[in-house]
């Protein structure tokens, strides 16, 4: 729109100019409102506990120090951070692999089985086991206290499979056929031709799945003992604070909480802007829904 209205400058009346100014102000306010909680956390993490308790800390740290960071980075926090990194790596790789292995055959119209497979997969988006039956399943599979309890319940997301399927359907048939003529098997075509052409969707899916594992606390809360906690659940126990109806909870001062939260969101903040082009495209593939 911006492009095609530029030549129409003559038409710009006072009303529109007022609007542009207001719009810019609104956008600035939205940007501030979005970033404020993050900046406030950062400010708290560099402030002294005393200043926070007294309510003196705003966007600028008071009683500036980096001791909190040194303290957090020496403590058990690192262990949980390490767990999260392992879960995210293992989880994301298996999610990507198995989702692609499902989505690719689903994208082939000539596969007769798809008449059955597609509804079989999609139905699970609209109806499924309750909280309880999922819990009972994990317990009876003896997955408690294993990495499986953390990863398996959410390993393949049907919604993401649908996005991948739509992407695979848009791939050039000619290239795949050419691969087969050159002697590649069906799997070879998938591995050597389809996947390398699918970088945009694979980048999107990597981000989505990695964020999902990185942020997950719920499976840990249900199934994992303390040594195996990911950092997200560790954060939850310190945020909740002792005294709540939660045996794992512990009381920790606000600057330590803030510091741990900052360190946990940091990797996501550093990565997501660079894949923006891809995931915006990826979201459009699904057409609708989140």
């Amino acid at each position: 729109m911006s492009m095609n209205t530029k030549p129409m400058k003559v038409k710009e009346n006072l009303g529109y100019r007022v609007f542009t100014v207001c719009n810019t102000i609104i956008m600035v306010l939205i940007v501030i409102a979005t970033l404020f909680p993050f900046l406030y956390l950062v400010s708290q993490s560099f402030s002294s506990d005393k200043a926070i308790m007294a309510g003196e800390v705003g966007l600028i740290p008071k009683g500036f120090n980096i001791d909190t960071y040194l303290y957090v980075l020496k403590g058990e926090f690192l262990k949980y951070y390490g767990n999260t990194i392992i879960y995210t790596l293992v989880g994301t790789v298996s999610s990507l692999l198995f989702s692609a292995m499902l989505a690719y055959p689903m994208s082939k119209n000539e596969l007769k089985f798809n008449k059955f497979l597609t509804p079989f997969v999609i139905f699970t988006m609209y109806f499924g086991g309750s909280l309880i039956s999922n819990y009972i399943l994990v317990i009876s599979l003896h997955l408690k206290d294993t990495i499986g309890a953390f990863i398996l319940p959410m390993m393949i997301s049907t919604y993401y499979v649908i996005l991948m399927k739509s992407f695979f359907q848009g791939l050039s048939k000619e290239l795949e056929e050419a691969g087969e003529i050159d002697g590649l098997s069906k799997f070879g075509v998938f591995w050597r031709i389809a996947l390398p052409l699918s970088k945009p969707i694979m980048a999107t899916m990597t981000l989505f799945y990695a964020v999902m594992y990185w942020n997950n606390w719920y499976q840990a809360f249900l199934y994992l003992r303390k040594d195996h906690w990911p950092v997200a659940y560790f954060l939850q126990t310190i945020i909740r604070g002792a005294g709540a109806n939660d045996a794992d909870a512990q009381t920790v001062s606000a600057n330590i909480k803030s510091c741990a939260m900052v360190l946990t969101v940091l990797p996501i903040i550093c990565v997501y802007p660079f894949i923006q082009k891809y995931y915006v495209q990826g979201m459009m593939l699904g057409g609708v829904k989140e």
Binding site: M1, K11, A54, R240, A244, K257
Partner: protein, 317 residues
């Protein structure tokens, strides 16, 4: 007649041949499906059928499909339970008020972003607005608690204007405000993606023609932009309505933000299911409630889907 008979006789063998041929050609694709299909059976369909324990008594460590049939016993129990109806009402109230606030705001935000001329500024606003979508619900709730705490910035502001400090997180009447505001904060930017995509697909010549006809800027938005994205608006709205009874992503947020002091307004169906089932060990009872929620959801979504098909030609299935 004879050809007919031959046809009948040939049928099965021919089918077998083509089936064999089909498998010969595509067996590798089928092989790829083995693990994913086992996964769906075990982790999606077994729990789905595990819902049967709503009708069968389940004992911890016993058969995961329950031990003995008890009929609608648990359904009768929760229908007579006031706490369940409170959770049901809260689910509806929270979801509906959240939808009413979030839906128009997202649309307006998308329209406003679309008006930004400076490409870099536009990209910056979009990038910043997507950020909250990627934040862990744990961290978001942690931030909320810091912001509304009695020594936090919001209470400081209130104090500065001479007001009384409020303990937002432990007062039932503030729960929906916290829930809705934080929800809008987290989803506003992400929600614009599909609208902006729809807007970028509008043919520029439409705007040019309208401009030649003397339509001002706002008229063009009203008569071209809005009608062009109307199908997207309808579809998204219908989908949202389909999810009104569902807990969707709300379970984790409510679970992390509520406490016994705010149950009155904050307890929703899924948190109730959780407390009854995993907290209290009443697995069958909690499953009955969960199943009830799931069925209402499916019904609402089906109705929404039919409506969507009729109105916009786009549907989920």
């Amino acid at each position: 007649m004879s050809s007919n008979r031959r046809g009948l006789a040939m049928g099965p063998t021919q089918n077998k041949q083509t089936f064999g041929k089909h498998m010969g050609k595509y067996w590798q694709l089928y092989a790829m499906l083995i693990i994913p299909i086992i996964y769906y059976v075990v982790f999606r369909y077994i729990p789905m059928f595990g819902n049967i324990i709503a009708f069968r008594k389940y004992r911890a460590g016993g058969n995961i499909f329950g031990d003995e049939f008890v009929g609608f016993k648990y359904f009768k129990q929760f229908i007579g339970d006031k706490t369940f109806w409170r959770a049901f009402a809260n689910t509806l109230t929270l979801n509906i008020s959240y939808l009413i606030v979030r839906f128009p705001l997202t649309l307006i935000f998308a329209l406003l972003i679309n008006e930004i001329r400076n490409v870099h500024w536009k990209k910056f606003v979009q990038t910043v607005s997507y950020l909250p979508h990627f934040i862990s619900i744990v961290i978001m709730c942690g931030m909320i608690k810091e912001l509304v705490s009695t020594s936090g910035p919001i209470n400081n502001l209130i104090a500065q204007f001479g007001g009384e400090k409020i303990s937002f997180i432990s007062e039932a009447k503030w729960f929906s405000t916290i829930f809705i505001t934080s929800g809008v904060w987290q989803s506003l930017g992400w929600g614009t993606i599909l609208y902006l995509a729809a807007m970028s697909n509008i043919n520029p010549s439409l705007y040019e023609a309208a401009a030649v006809d003397g339509a001002g800027h706002f008229k063009r938005v009203w008569h071209i932009t809005i009608p062009s994205i109307l199908p997207t608006i309808t579809t998204l709205l219908i989908l949202d309505i389909g999810g009104l009874v569902g807990s969707g992503g709300a379970f984790e947020k409510v679970y992390l933000l509520y406490n016994p002091m705010t149950y009155e307004t904050a307890d929703i169906i899924s948190t109730y299911v959780f407390r009854m089932g995993i907290g209290g060990g009443n697995f069958s009872y909690a499953t009955a409630v969960g199943l009830f929620e799931g069925i209402i959801n499916l019904t609402l979504l089906s109705i929404a889907n039919i409506a969507s098909k009729k109105l916009t030609d786009s549907s989920l299935w």
